[in-house]
């Protein structure tokens, strides 16, 4: 009985747990990437205990892969040596860690997954409790197979109605973050529900859960249903709240939402697109763990079809599987014909390490989840966040553009 997070932990621990309890729980998978693995290795070495189960460890190179310079190459080499020495088979380089976790079947409804990356909360869309932690936590779990958790209170975000044409899950979550504020859900679980969410496809739900952390949340959970089962193509545990007690319920009318834009340098600086249209752009970037999935690319391609971009446009599919599908279906042709650059799957320029760094006074509109100062390069550059449709329309016009003008 309880909220989704209480249900998941109660089932795992085979006893009733409730918000506020501090528990030690087994972890089903522990993920880290090229930025967070080195300190995890150091912590694990100091503990001097064997790895609890190497099959449960997943390491992905995504933040700066292939290595853009020598220092990065040395770090990659160091991690590879560790991986080889300990026979860690779940090592991947074919996309953003969070997309890999989903594609490889490591994000399972009812499971507990931790990751050395704040956007690990993405798998909440599949009814999987997943949350970001620091490197020491990751190293400790390599040694113990467990971690400690404080069961969070839950804010229920109940969304009903139909999103307008040109308005997507990204616009909804930006609007929710504006409503909650950057620390509005700190320590808490967000549960998304309502007929708008039920009608959403899984790729849209993943966009919602991915950005739960931008309101400070520990996780962003969505109950499982037929769509979850179809997406994962296997039998799954049914995860849903039972007589939950929510700390707060927020009702949202989806039909009233306009395309949203987050402007520099906070994710909760959000406005309707009308308030900011025509702002000139130097670069557009479509991709990331938020919006680099196939359907996101398809929406962008619809707008870019038979058009030319008017500013630098970078497209980074979230994984090689997505890239391959986009090649086969012709989306990549559309991007290339439009004058965009398509880069190898991974985090792309989202973390400011490669593939599209911004110079002083430059401005980018992206489908990323964060627009902190200097995240894509110069501290004197600016980042706007929006949906793939808004990003594609803005690329065509070289300025912030309401996608409905081109749809």
């Amino acid at each position: 009985m309880g909220t989704i997070v209480e249900e998941i932990f109660s089932k795992k621990l085979k006893r009733k747990v409730k918000a506020g309890d501090v528990v030690i729980a087994p972890v089903d998978y522990v993920m880290s990437h090229d930025t967070t693995t080195p300190l995890a290795i150091e912590a694990w070495k100091k503990i001097k205990k064997p790895i609890f189960n190497k099959k449960k460890i997943v390491i992905v190179f995504d933040h700066y892969y292939p290595s853009p310079e020598i220092k990065s190459a040395k770090t990659h080499k160091k991690i590879r040596t560790f991986i080889k020495k300990h026979n860690i088979n779940n090592f991947f380089t074919q996309g953003v860690s969070h997309q890999i976790m989903i594609e490889k079947g490591f994000a399972v409804p009812g499971d507990i997954v931790i990751g050395g990356d704040s956007h690990t909360c993405t798998y909440g869309a599949l009814g999987c409790f997943s949350t970001g932690m620091g490197s020491t936590d990751i190293g400790c779990t390599w040694a113990t197979g467990k971690s400690w958790f404080k069961i969070p209170e839950t804010i229920n975000i109940n969304v009903s109605g139909k999103l307008k044409k040109g308005v997507y899950a990204k616009d909804l979550i930006l609007m929710i973050i504006k409503l909650l504020g950057a620390d509005g859900a700190t320590y808490k679980s967000i549960e998304f529900s309502g007929n708008t969410i039920e009608n959403m496809e899984i790729h849209e739900r993943l966009t919602l859960s991915n950005m739960a952390i931008e309101a400070g949340a520990k996780c962003g959970l969505i109950r499982t249903d037929k769509k979850t089962k179809k997406y994962l193509k296997k039998k799954i545990a049914e995860i849903f709240p039972r007589n939950p007690e929510y700390e707060k319920i927020i009702n949202i009318d989806a039909g009233k939402i306009e395309p949203q834009i987050a402007y520099p340098d906070r994710v909760d600086n959000v406005c309707d697109i009308q308030e900011i249209e025509n702002k000139k752009l130097d670069q557009v970037f479509i991709g990331t763990c938020t919006n680099g999935r196939y359907k996101d690319l398809e929406i962008a391609a619809e707008i870019l079809e038979n058009k030319k971009v008017k500013c630098r446009t970078i497209i980074v599919p979230a994984s090689n599987n997505i890239l391959k599908k986009a090649i086969d279906s012709g989306l990549i042709d559309t991007f290339i014909n439009a004058g965009a650059v398509v880069c190898n799957p991974g985090c792309g320029p989202c973390v400011g390490r490669h593939q599209g760094i911004l110079a002083k006074d430059e401005t980018a509109l992206t489908t990323m989840n964060r627009n902190f100062r200097g995240r894509m390069g110069s501290p004197d550059s600016g980042i706007f966040l929006a949906s793939p449709a808004t990003a594609a329309a803005s690329a065509v016009c070289g300025k912030i553009t309401d996608p409905r003008r081109l749809l």
Partner: protein, 166 residues
């Protein structure tokens, strides 16, 4: 112990700018902690002092350098109205004592002389002659902090050893 006071939403970049790391010896990071936003603290804080903060202390990145830098200043504790979640965990994991208390922020002024009893959940403000209660941290978290962090803790014990205390 002397109290220092800072406001809301202190982020991980303000705690320690990335221009100072990585470096060979992380204990040097203490010399730069909060330098851009609270230089008086950076220059003058002494071993054992306490930092009192507002809401959402440590927001932003999951990087551990922020917690490492605060610990390296030598302060004995951070008391905040609230902490960003990942900073909170990172602090405990590296053995930096932290207390969440709404009251403390209102009842302690900068330069007040205070003491903290972690087991009893009691802060004493000698300057103002006030006692402030806080919810004590769970026993196993106190143990982790006392051991100097979760790595040292796990060298001797398994997490399961603590199950009975929860």
């Amino acid at each position: 112990m002397k109290a220092w006071k800072i406001g809301d939403d202190v982020n991980t970049d303000e705690i320690i700018s990335c221009r100072h790391y990585p470096r060979e010896d992380n204990s040097e990071l203490g010399r730069f902690a909060l330098e851009d936003v609270f230089n008086e603290f950076t220059e003058n804080a002494e071993k054992g002092d306490v930092l009192i903060a507002g809401d959402n202390f440590g927001c932003g990145s999951s990087r551990e350098y922020a917690a490492i830098a605060m610990k390296a200043t030598g302060i004995s504790c951070i008391i905040a109205k609230s902490f960003a979640r990942i900073f909170y965990r990172n602090a405990i994991n590296i053995g930096l004592a932290i207390i969440t208390s709404e009251n403390a922020y209102d009842k302690i002024e900068e330069n007040d002389n205070i003491s903290i009893d972690f087991n009893k959940g009691l802060i004493e403000n000698f300057t103002k002659n006030k006692k402030i209660k806080f919810d004590p941290l769970p026993e196993f978290i106190i143990q982790i902090i006392q051991k100097g962090g979760i790595v040292s803790f796990l060298k001797e014990k398994d997490l399961d050893d603590m199950t009975n205390d929860l």
